[in-house]
Structure formats: C-alpha cells, structure tokens
Symmetry: C2
Subunit: 196 residues, 2 copies
DNA sequence: CATGTTTTATAGCGATCGATCTAAAATGAA
DNA sequence: TTCATTTTAGATCGATCGCTATAAAACATG
C-alpha cells in the first residue's frame, strides 16, 4: 500500500522520553528530540504530531512502563510490608543510579501548571500511587480499629510524600544518606501502621 | 556624578522573581522579564548581568525573604510544637492561595541538574530547612533517650519531605484535603517525637 | 553652564525555536 | 510494471531566543 516506517516506534519513543526526562519539556528542542530519536523532524511530526503531543506519548509510555508496573508489583506482593520495602528499596537504588528523578514528578512541576489536560493525567497518576499504598495498608488491617489513631489514607499520603521528596532530592543531587533515611522512615510508617 | 536609576532595585527584582517562580527558568524569556520589571532589556543587563545572573539574584532574594524568615520564626517560637504547627499551617495556606509552589523546590528540579553552583546553593538551603526542624525537635528532648526509636535527624528529614511534597502537589494543583492531611501528619511526627 | 559618567531607549545582531514545504525514495495493490 | 500512497531527507518559514551596539537623555561635579 505505501512505504513502511524504517524506525521502531517504541524504541524511538523511549529515546524521546529520555530527553524529556533528563532536560525537561522547555529545555528540550524538537531538534534535540529528532537527533536523539535518530529520525528527521518531518518523520517526528508525521508519526507523533507536534512537540506537546510527543510529550504526551512519552508520559503515557512512562506511566505504563515505570509507575504502574511498580504499583502492580506492590499489589502482587504476598506480604504488603515486604512489598512496600521492596518498592522503596528499588526507588532509592534507581534514584541514586539515575539522577533524572521521575518523569511524572518532573512533569507535575513543569507541565501541570499550564496544561490542564496533562495536569489531570498527572493528578490521576499520583492518585494511583497513593491508592496503591492505601490498598497495601488496608491489607495489613482488615478490621477497622476506630479507637486507634492509625489512618490508612493519611499514611498512604505520607508515603506518597516520601516518594515525591525522594525523587526531588535525587534530581537535585541529594546524598544517599538522606534518601535512604527518608525511605526507611516511609517503610517504618507502614510497619507502625501494622501495629507494635 | 552620573545619571541615577529610575527604578527601584528591590521591587523590579521582586517582579523578576515572580516570573521565574510562576513559569520556571527556561520558559521565562528576557523579554518577559523586562516587561514584568517595567524596564528595558538594556537596563536589565546593565543592572543584573545576564539571565542566569538575574535568576541567581532572584533565588537569593527568595531565600532571604521567604525560606530563611520562616526558619527564623521557627527558631524564635517558645514552644517548638506550636512553631512547627504554625510553619505547616502557613505553608498550606500559602500553597492553596498561590499555586506557584516554592521557588527553591522548583529550582531544585529544573535548575540544579544543570548548574553545579546553583545546585550547591539549593542543597545548602534544603539543609537549612532540615536543620531548622532538627533544632526544633532537639529542643523537645534535651536528654537523649537512646533506648527509644525516636531519631531527630530522621524525623527532621520526614518533615522536609512533607514540605517538598506539599510544594510539588500544590504546584500540580492538588486539592486542599491532601495538602492539609500531609501537613497534619508532619505536625504529628513532631508531637510523637515529643512523646506520648 | 560645561564636562564626565551612567542609564536609558531603540534597533538589531546571529542563533535557534517549533513547524512545514517540496520532492525524492520506497513500498503494496492493481 | 504502473500507480497510489506514505515516509523519507533537506531546506526553509516567520517568530523568538539571549544579548549587545549605538546614541540620546539625565544627573553630579567643577
């Protein structure tokens, strides 16, 4: 019917994601993107639309590849405490090895304030993370203990706070001590929630 | 001796700070800045140097005007718990009223990865906040209780995490419920540190 | 008032921005 | 093979980027 593409869509999308992830939206030019993707500007516009549309594709791919996969692993874990510990251990390890931070959090800062549609997607994704923690905590205490001060929603939000702070500090070059300390405290929140 | 300036340096600097604060470094053009400051581009370069230098002036002014002032209020508070509660109450109120977030946290995300000198300033400022919380916590327990699990440094870092997350979520448009919940948990950390 | 110095306003520098046009190259269907 | 369709490559669009050269305007000093 027509000439087929010579590039692999997922792999060039991964290259674009890496650029946005490292440099942010504004600081990444279409020429940077095309160069990193090893395609021409015309091919870029033909396959992905304009710059914002390409960014949207990248953010969607990021959420599927990274964020939702980690939440799914948390849900799949037999022991929620172990799952939460693995979540934060992996997060610290990844954050120290790779200083780009988290594309979702980066976008929450740079893109969300002036793009309502992406802001909704970002808010929903942050909510997915919070809810993932919440589900894990609920599995720890099937019976509500109303007399106690423990609050699954508030604890889940504290854990979301830890994730965000870890990602911000990692991108800003924070040292491993601080990152590990924050992660340890987040895990301790879940352990304390489970009970003494 | 020579022609004096027709503009007030602190007030035009505040106007520039507002631009960087709302839109970020890359998305703010020198023309945007000059327009917001109500001066010409030539005057801007003559008084503040290039764009990066102006940004540095803005960040310095921000730290003096906002960040350090809040830490000083914390130190000046007779009751550290009250001081910490006031700190977070003010932070939530300001974050809901003004969705720009925090110029320090914004810069930690956008600028620190590419500017080693500013990264050091940002890291030191985050450390000042953490240390401010740490001093408050230490005042709560002059005697070290080594047998207990309480850790002033780890708790201060949790509170710094809450500040960062509050600012990120506020900029991303998070709802007041979540922000207040995170602030309440941060204050509860200090109360729990003080003891039952 | 005349002089020296700095700030102002304007115009414009080369470079790069996001985006698009043209035309050649490459394919499947007829 | 011929044709219709799509993707390539390269050039280039007008707009804007950070920044600066130029010269008139505005002051303090002698």
């Amino acid at each position: 019917m027509a000439r087929p593409r010579t590039f692999d869509q997922p792999s060039v999308l991964a290259a674009a994601m890496d650029q946005f992830w490292r440099r942010g939206y504004e600081a990444t030019s279409v020429r940077d993107l095309a160069s990193a993707m090893s395609i021409t500007g015309a091919s870029l516009y033909n396959a992905f639309g304009d710059k914002r549309s390409l960014f949207r594709h990248c953010l969607d791919a990021y959420l599927d590849t990274y964020a939702r996969r980690r939440i799914a692993e948390l849900d799949a874990s037999d022991d929620p405490i172990r799952g939460i510990r693995a979540f934060f251990d992996n997060l610290v390890e990844a954050s120290l090895k790779d200083r780009r931070g988290c594309l979702l959090v980066n976008s929450a800062m740079e893109v969300a304030p002036w793009d309502d549609e992406l802001a909704e997607l970002i808010e929903a994704s942050l909510r997915e993370i919070e809810d993932g923690f919440h589900r894990g905590l609920e599995r720890l205490s099937p019976e509500p203990r109303s007399h106690h001060r423990r609050d699954a929603r508030a604890t889940a939000r504290q854990m979301l706070s830890a994730v965000i702070a870890l990602r911000v500090l990692a991108r800003a070059g924070g040292d491993g001590d601080r990152l590990r300390s924050i992660a340890r405290s987040a895990v301790a929140l879940a352990e304390d929630y489970q009970g003494p």
